[in-house]
Symmetry: C2
Subunit: 424 residues, 2 copies
């Protein structure tokens, strides 16, 4: 914490303190966007239909069947559950989204609801509304990470070089990227509003995020200008040197020779400087050139492989670290959680949190450390409808009589008034 | 474009118009962050050492050896090249980073330079500086996407179920997520400054981004509370139903049954409603439950596989689209670029751009469409040092005499004054 910054009457505030965002969402990208804003200090209200939205039971699950995915994606949010099919439920959502406040009127969604919940209608209630909508593709067709990724070609460059079969990624990378982009798009549009340019709708298509990213990485130029396709290359680092090796103890490590410094470090640490020089002479190329390290990676690997095969990780671990090499060990998620202090509460971004109905485990806050703003500690996710009454009262401006009527009529729900879950 | 919003004297402005960001970077995350800001309208100045930084020659390359990666990651930026080892070069960089302007004083970096380029020193020149620094891990050790990913366990859940070998992703997903997070962190910190809370340093570690994301996805809770590990499941969608199938024409499709609606859609479109009902009776479970679709995915796939094996993609393509199914075809990047209109200039986010020294190809702008702000069309990347003179004059405030002296002394470089590239 840097003294003298970010204080307001002596109090250090979280970086987005005071902002209010409403989220109508399901799955990865938009829930992640809302949570990221909550983890920077915004008040984030997620609304769901009675019984929960499409991701209410999303895997992974806790032993008791509760969704660990919901718990992960909704940390620190407030939850309201209402009948989104009833006129009263719709009116309440409209009031919540368009409620007054200079730092409110911010709405994130991937629910495709036309008529009452589109930007045109909502902005009649609050003309300076900023609404960020994530769609599947630009035609309005449904797309998920699992369809966008195959359509754009990444699985054909993933996996062992000796197999033709495409390999999809297990990490929903496009969703995660799109979710983070929803955050920056919302902040950019809110900045625009703050400077007097009014509200607006921001539309982002998941497929466009992926397509643009391929372009940014040079992949579109590559297939346009080159005749050869980038194929599969196993776990090798593309374009320079980086390879996985199995060690004498059966453990597998990844070793990086992307920069010249890293490359020289590997050769020195493994005592292969002379062997690499001999290889350069045999091939008539300089391996100081990153492209040559890529082109002749198999020859390089043939030299390094026996070195690793004869050694256990503890035999070289300290020397590699002392030499500042860029390397890591392959671990399962379980091994990482059990063995790596960076995934434990030794790392200030993690804290042990009791998630009601599920149990206690290590939970991350926002990975950024803001030097002049307070860290928002990880907080549990709400249970569905946990804040229904509070939101109806404080945001929608309902009286306690109105709130009681809404519960009685089954328009809203909270854990204490829970109804059976609706079919999807 | 929505009429009436975002105009200033009748002119629609791009969403970050007027903002100036300085970037000292290499590789994926921070260059992507700077470019994303440039694609929303910010003026982004990237500085590099003479001859270019560590990513100046990064693959993929154009046929003439120029870096398509540089071209992709630096679109629309301004470039200045200077001798970062000389006191004069360092002073110029300091002046550029800390130059006056209400919407300036924003610095993005992943260069680990202590002493003259750390936040403490730079903020002496401009106390309200906002500096976002991306590091490898929280200990300051070097980490790249290729080391973070194996360390946290994703490769052990990627690839064919019948193989134990970990499979690394080909997409630098963690870099891409971290880059997008640098954008939102910078915008959040700038918002904080705009509200009178001063500048600050924001530190983000690549490994922390990945570790936090595992937690958000529920994976840390999963291994903490459950005894069984999530293993590899090929291209199957995790936790519900989604599978790839090879068709009669050898083409491969991905079909999604994540939501109940999607699942019923697949069964109906493939005429397998009765077969699935029989399966439910045999297993004694309901496949309306997403977890059961996941647990019994192999049984479901056994029913669907012959249907796809007997049909070519054109046989069912129109029917699947008419039914609103969520599905896609596996393509290579080349096929996607050649066949998919969403990767062509039919999609407003793409335009044909002539990248000097490389050639003409389809280039993406920012994937978001801001309803009340002008789209920033894709612009070529600068050549190294292309804007050296302009930046020295307009930002560093150098006179033309000083600029001439700096070129003569070899402190700065531009394409017209190019020197041979330094060794890395």
């Amino acid at each position: 914490m840097h003294a003298g910054h970010g204080h307001l009457g002596g109090r250090v505030m979280s970086v987005l303190k005071g902002m209010r965002v409403v989220e109508g969402s399901a799955f990865v990208a938009v829930p992640l966007a809302g949570m990221t804003l909550a983890q920077m200090g915004a008040e984030v209200i997620r609304f769901d239909r009675l019984g929960g939205g499409l991701d209410a039971g999303r895997w992974p699950l806790a032993p008791n069947g509760e969704s660990l995915f919901w718990a992960g994606m909704n940390k620190g949010k407030k939850s309201i559950a209402l009948d989104m099919k009833s006129p009263q439920g719709r009116e309440l959502i409209t009031r919540i989204i368009t409620a007054p406040g200079e730092d409110a009127g911010l709405f994130l969604t991937n629910l495709r609801v036309r008529g009452w919940m589109d930007h045109e209608t909502l902005s009649q209630h609050r003309p300076d509304l900023v609404m960020v909508t994530l769609t599947g593709d630009r035609h309005g067709r449904p797309q998920v990470d699992y369809t966008v990724n195959p359509a754009l070609g990444i699985p054909h460059m993933t996996g062992p070089a000796d197999s033709d079969a495409p390999v999809a990624h297990a990490l929903p990378a496009w969703d995660l990227i799109a979710g983070n982009m929803c955050v920056s798009a919302l902040l950019a549009a809110e900045r625009h509003r703050l400077r007097g340019h009014g509200g607006q709708e921001v539309e982002i298509a998941l497929k466009d995020v992926a397509a643009a990213t391929l372009g940014h990485l040079g992949m579109i130029g590559d297939v346009t200008l080159n005749t050869e396709n980038r194929g599969k290359s196993g776990n090798a680092l593309y374009g320079a040197y980086g390879q996985d090796f199995v060690c004498a103890d059966g453990r597998r490590v990844m070793v990086i020779g992307l920069t010249d410094r890293q490359w020289r470090g590997i050769c020195k640490a493994t005592g292969t400087v002379e062997a690499m020089t001999a290889l350069e002479q045999r091939l008539g190329v300089s391996l100081a050139e990153e492209g040559n390290r890529w082109r002749f990676r198999d020859d390089i690997t043939a030299i390094l492989k026996p070195w690793f095969a004869q050694r256990r990780v503890p035999d070289f671990e300290a020397a590699f670290n002392d030499a500042g090499l860029t390397w890591s060990e392959f671990r399962s998620v379980r091994e990482a959680v059990e063995l790596d202090p960076d995934l434990s509460t030794e790392n200030p971004i993690f804290s042990e949190v009791m998630q009601p109905g599920i149990g206690r485990f290590s939970v991350p806050s926002h990975p950024a450390s803001f030097g002049a703003a307070e860290r928002v500690d990880a907080r549990p996710a709400p249970t569905l409808g946990q804040h229904t009454e509070e939101i109806l009262s404080n945001v929608a401006g309902c009286s306690s009589t109105e709130i009681a009527q809404l519960f009685d009529a089954g328009i809203v729900q909270s854990p204490s008034f829970a109804k059976p879950r609706n079919a999807a």
